[in-house]
């Protein structure tokens, strides 16, 4: 966890390039057929349950089974490997890059993710707080709940099989909650962000500073 933050450096970085770049790779081997060109605007999945797919980026065909790949995020196609059109690629081959413009909220979240200890999803599944933690959150709010290594903090639910998830990080308060109980979380995505009590003022400083600086850009 970062103890000191060079705000000027961070703000300058985001000011000069307020974008996030997402590389989209081939999910498996197959023949690629692009459905968007360089410079195209693409949308992310939408709908209340994220059930409306994003823009179709390309299809990858293996053994006559074509799989459409949709954009995971909104933005502009900034790089495209057009030379791979109609060619066979290996799994993991980068095919395009999407440039996603960051909002103030995204920037705060990005910086917080550098400062907080992130507890990540062990598997793609749905998550909910353990009953004891949920009760404490309901009573006092998440930022009043302190957790320590070994605490049962979450339940991972997949196909109605519930698996207790034990915390394995630094002791601290639950500062940020990144999941919603009804929505699936991909493996490796952050579930919660933890902050030790003495670092809470630093967190508040991050939020205040970015809000003030960003409004002036």
């Amino acid at each position: 966890m970062t103890h000191e933050i060079d705000f000027d450096d961070i703000i300058a970085k985001y000011r000069s390039d307020p974008y996030k770049y997402i590389e989209v790779c081939a999910p498996h081997t197959g023949v690629v057929a692009f459905r968007v060109g360089k410079g195209a605007a693409v949308d992310a999945a939408s709908g209340e349950w994220l059930h409306i797919p994003g823009t179709r980026l390309f299809e990858i065909t293996r053994e006559n089974n074509g799989k459409p790949i949709f954009s995971p995020i909104a933005g502009i196609v900034s790089e495209l490997r057009a030379d791979l059109e109609g060619r066979f690629v290996e799994a993991g081959e980068p095919l395009m890059t999407i440039r996603h413009p960051l909002k103030k909220k995204d920037i705060i979240e990005n910086i917080l993710k550098d400062v907080l200890y992130l507890f990540r999803a062990p598997e793609k599944a749905k998550y909910f707080f353990a009953l004891d933690i949920q009760t404490r959150i309901d009573k006092k709010g998440a930022r009043s709940v302190t957790i320590k290594p070994g605490d049962e903090i979450l339940t991972m639910s997949l196909m109605k099989r519930d698996t207790p998830v034990y915390y394995a990080g630094e002791e601290g308060v639950i500062h940020s909650v990144y999941f919603e109980p009804g929505l699936s979380v991909a493996q490796g995505e952050p579930l919660i962000g933890i902050c030790s009590a003495e670092k809470l003022p630093l967190i508040q400083k991050v939020i205040t500073r970015v809000k003030a600086e960003w409004d002036n850009i």
């Binding site: 349950w49 749905k126 099989r161 519930d162 009804g182």
Partner: protein
């Protein structure tokens, strides 16, 4: 009310040999029935019956840890049964009424399946229970994922929880089962939504025999998971369709129905949809009112 005397590993084995195997030899897996049952033979490797417990899931965890403390490991398939429970619960904060007359228990499984096959463990208890209940002339069906209903009244519910041994770090899957067999009195709030085998069959049921029927069917279904996994890994068969899901589809009435879906559908219903199919990996494909589709791998449905 028919009494619950005692289920033992030996009694279950006899039941499998004399009842379950002949039944399976006349079914969908006639030729491989004996081999599948051998794969599932560890179910009920030890059976511990109690007159009353708080919760069998709690007892199971304690038994695992106590044995580990003594430098031993629990036998996979160890089954804990109680004639009644004083602190039983369903998922989330739901209460489960478990008086004498029902079949209440937990099967402890050492986690040895690959994740893609292990994900189907919750379906094994639903299928096994539905098969056992139907043997008593009760037209039970399965509601995704594994609730067993009769005329839309719940006759059985299951909890599947992972547990890691505190000392060894060994991972277990605990299959908790609650089946209304001869218990006919339900709390006021459950009177319209619960039923028991005896209520529908019109007669009391030999609870020990029923327990053997259920556990023997479970031995077959869990055995089928292991048998199929082995065949897939040996490249003797395709991974899909999984034979367990084929059985599930035959027993379920969940497809093609208007439903409400929710991760915790009782406390927080999320959306209405029509069920389309169960996918080859056990997910439920739902069509929303706007025609879009979602596949859910967790959560619950209620019929509309």
């Amino acid at each position: 009310m028919a009494s619950f005397d005692h289920v033992s590993a030996a009694r279950l084995k006899t039941h499998i040999d004399e009842v379950e195997l002949p039944l399976r030899r006349s079914g969908a897996h006639a030729e491989s029935a004996a081999e599948i049952l051998r794969y599932g033979a560890f179910i009920g490797s030890e059976v511990h019956c109690h007159a009353s417990l708080d919760r069998t899931m709690v007892r199971a965890r304690r038994a695992i840890n106590q044995l580990e403390e003594a430098g031993r490991s629990i036998r996979s398939g160890t089954t804990i049964i109680a004639a009644s429970l004083t602190g039983s619960k369903g998922r989330f904060t739901r209460h489960w009424h478990a008086p004498p007359g029902g079949l209440w228990g937990t099967v402890i499984l050492v986690n040895t399946l690959l994740p893609r096959f292990r994900n189907l463990l919750p379906q094994t208890v639903g299928v096994a229970c539905c098969e056992a209940v139907r043997r008593y002339g009760v037209p039970a069906t399965i509601r995704w994922i594994n609730d067993v209903l009769v005329d839309e009244r719940k006759i059985a519910g299951f909890l599947c929880e992972s547990f890691t041994g505190e000392r060894s770090g060994e991972e277990y899957c605990l299959l908790g089962f609650g089946i209304n067999v001869n218990n006919e009195q339900f709390p006021h709030e459950l009177r319209d939504s619960a039923a028991s085998v005896s209520m529908v069959a019109g007669r009391s049921v030999d609870l020990t025999r029923f327990a053997c029927d259920f556990l023997a069917a479970l031995a077959f279904q869990v055995g089928l998971l292991h048998y199929h996994e082995t065949r897939v890994l040996r490249q003797e068969t395709e991974e899909h369709p999984h034979p367990l899901l084929l059985l599930w589809r035959e027993l379920s009435d969940s497809i093609g129905r208007p439903v409400v879906y929710g991760f915790d559908v009782v406390a927080r219903p999320q959306y209405r949809a029509r069920t389309v199919e169960v996918t080859n990996d056990g997910g439920l494909r739902l069509r929303l009112e706007d025609g879009r589709e979602i596949v859910e791998y967790s959560g619950e449905i209620r019929y509309l």
